[in-house]
Symmetry: C2
Subunit: 314 residues, 2 copies
């Protein structure tokens, strides 16, 4: 086996969807080029952007920060990182440490913010008596916190580490649930709700999860590898396992799902004639389709004592 | 446990998606009513239709024939059945016998037609050296043969036994493969290609597969229960297993998939502005998106000797 790009015999990956066999260096280089190409193709970043990256310390967010750091070094963007502490004991601490070490090494400004301060409750506390899945709470709260942190920072873009598998999972979940409103919000750049949301970008949207893992290994990046204790048995996880399994025999299937979805989304949006609901949450002032945004709805449902919410966050 | 409809204690089904517990009689009655309602809702049948049903002898096609037979007895439609012998030895013979017995009992005109006569080759022969999955060949050839048989009969509708699971499998397969052209062809009535195709109707589209099985049992219908030997390991089967598995915890998921799809399809069709390709196959004269229809393309690919095709079928 030889690297199909440079002839080296130290092949670390057989990319079945493209026919490439690559050594470590060529794998890193082609992957970075692919991400940079997607950034240009989808117009994810402009010169002068101030990018806030959501950095959990896991492989995906570390990889995207590593690549954005190159743009920072070339003086194309400003970069800062935020780690959200959801309050998952025995799990989140290691991620926070990995994120802190990575940013200290690179000189990237970094801060940690707590769900407890924002919502008056931790995820562990919520999960003692939950009426929804952990990922539902966590996803809504993390998006909400990132938006608010970005606004505080004057960020012009929010970057996340979502990879190809994540994106396909979201697409298939919403196909199966018949949730067209959610489907129209999935993409390389999320809807900006008429400029009131700070655009959220996903530079790794076309990188398969296993290549994200290989990238951080090949680059020798120090990441937090544990899986979230609440993720097992979730709908998303079941769909993810299924997609991985069918990808073994059909290496291009996640790409065909993504391409098909991008076209379906265009048709859905045209057909909506701007009919998407868009207002402002009466409590926090964030963009919202109803009177309250989902995060404030959850805080209300969870019966959190208003005094528990840190005054800085109201 | 009591039947939620009549109070009988002989409950045979707990319909988790509706909360109903039903005895055999109430199950049969509610299921027939549901199918009749869907026939009206989607305009599947008009008084005076001449319906050709594709009857394999399996549970789905026997159930749909049983229900259509009621419309025949009420003098709303004329009904005839065609069984296609694909040439799968050790499997198809039993289905043909079951179909024959059923039609003889009811006095429904019935005939058996062979893939070998139409295409010059059996499925067993194709599968000795296939370049595609068995279901791909079989699906294309069966649709093609049904269309041609219906035209010979002067039928105004072609009915098939596709159930909710089948429909969701087709939807998810094409979502994953990103095949938008195929997606727009899925529905309770298939596209008529400007009147050149005889409309194909699926009265059982909203009946879950397990209820089809229960229906034939509860009605005491004699069906061929074996599974096709070529179906295992197919993409469709893998998707079907996955959908069944996630339905256990989420009993309404196939309905939400179907509802979501029906809306997506509307948007896709509007966005096509009649851009769907539609021509006539140069060999058989059937409607086709290319110069040759898929069936004639396959026959050509398979290198069938023209002399093998029965002259009646050319």
């Amino acid at each position: 086996m030889q690297c199909t790009r440079c002839g080296s015999e130290r092949v670390i990956i057989n990319r079945k969807y493209s026919g490439q066999m690559l050594c470590g260096e060529c794998f890193i280089e082609t992957t970075r080029k692919k991400v940079m190409k997607d950034i240009r193709k989808y117009g994810l970043i402009e010169r002068g952007d101030r990018v806030l990256v959501g950095l959990s310390g896991g492989k995906d967010s570390v990889m995207v920060t590593d690549i954005l750091d190159e743009l920072r070094n070339r003086n194309i963007i400003e970069l800062e990182a935020v780690t959200i502490d959801e309050g998952i004991s025995g799990y989140r601490e290691d991620g926070i440490r990995a994120a802190g070490r990575f940013c200290a090494e690179r000189g990237i400004p970094h801060r940690v913010v707590k769900l407890k301060d924002y919502a008056g409750i931790t995820l562990d506390e919520i999960m003692k008596n939950p009426s929804r899945g952990a990922c539902t709470y966590c996803g809504v709260f993390r998006r909400w916190i990132l938006n608010r942190e970005a606004r505080k920072s004057g960020a012009t873009k929010i970057a996340t580490g979502h990879n190809l598998d994540d994106e396909c999972q979201a697409i298939v979940m919403n196909y199966l649930e018949g949730n067209l409103e959610n489907l129209t919000r999935i993409g390389p750049v999320t809807s900006t709700a008429g400029g009131r949301f700070i655009p959220k970008i996903k530079p790794l949207r076309e990188i398969p999860e296993r290549e994200v893992g290989l990238y951080v290994l090949a680059r020798g990046l120090d990441v937090h590898l544990a899986g979230c204790p609440y993720a097992s048995g979730s709908f998303r996880r079941e769909i993810g396992d299924f997609l991985k399994q069918i990808s073994v025999k059909r290496p291009t299937i996640m790409y065909s799902t993504l391409r098909g979805f991008d076209k379906i989304k265009e048709s859905l949006i045209k057909d909506m004639h701007g009919g998407r609901k868009s207002g402002t949450c009466l409590i926090c002032g964030e963009p919202s389709s109803g009177r309250l945004c989902k995060a404030c709805t959850f805080i209300n449902e969870l019966g959190v004592n208003e005094g528990e919410v840190h005054s800085d966050y109201r």
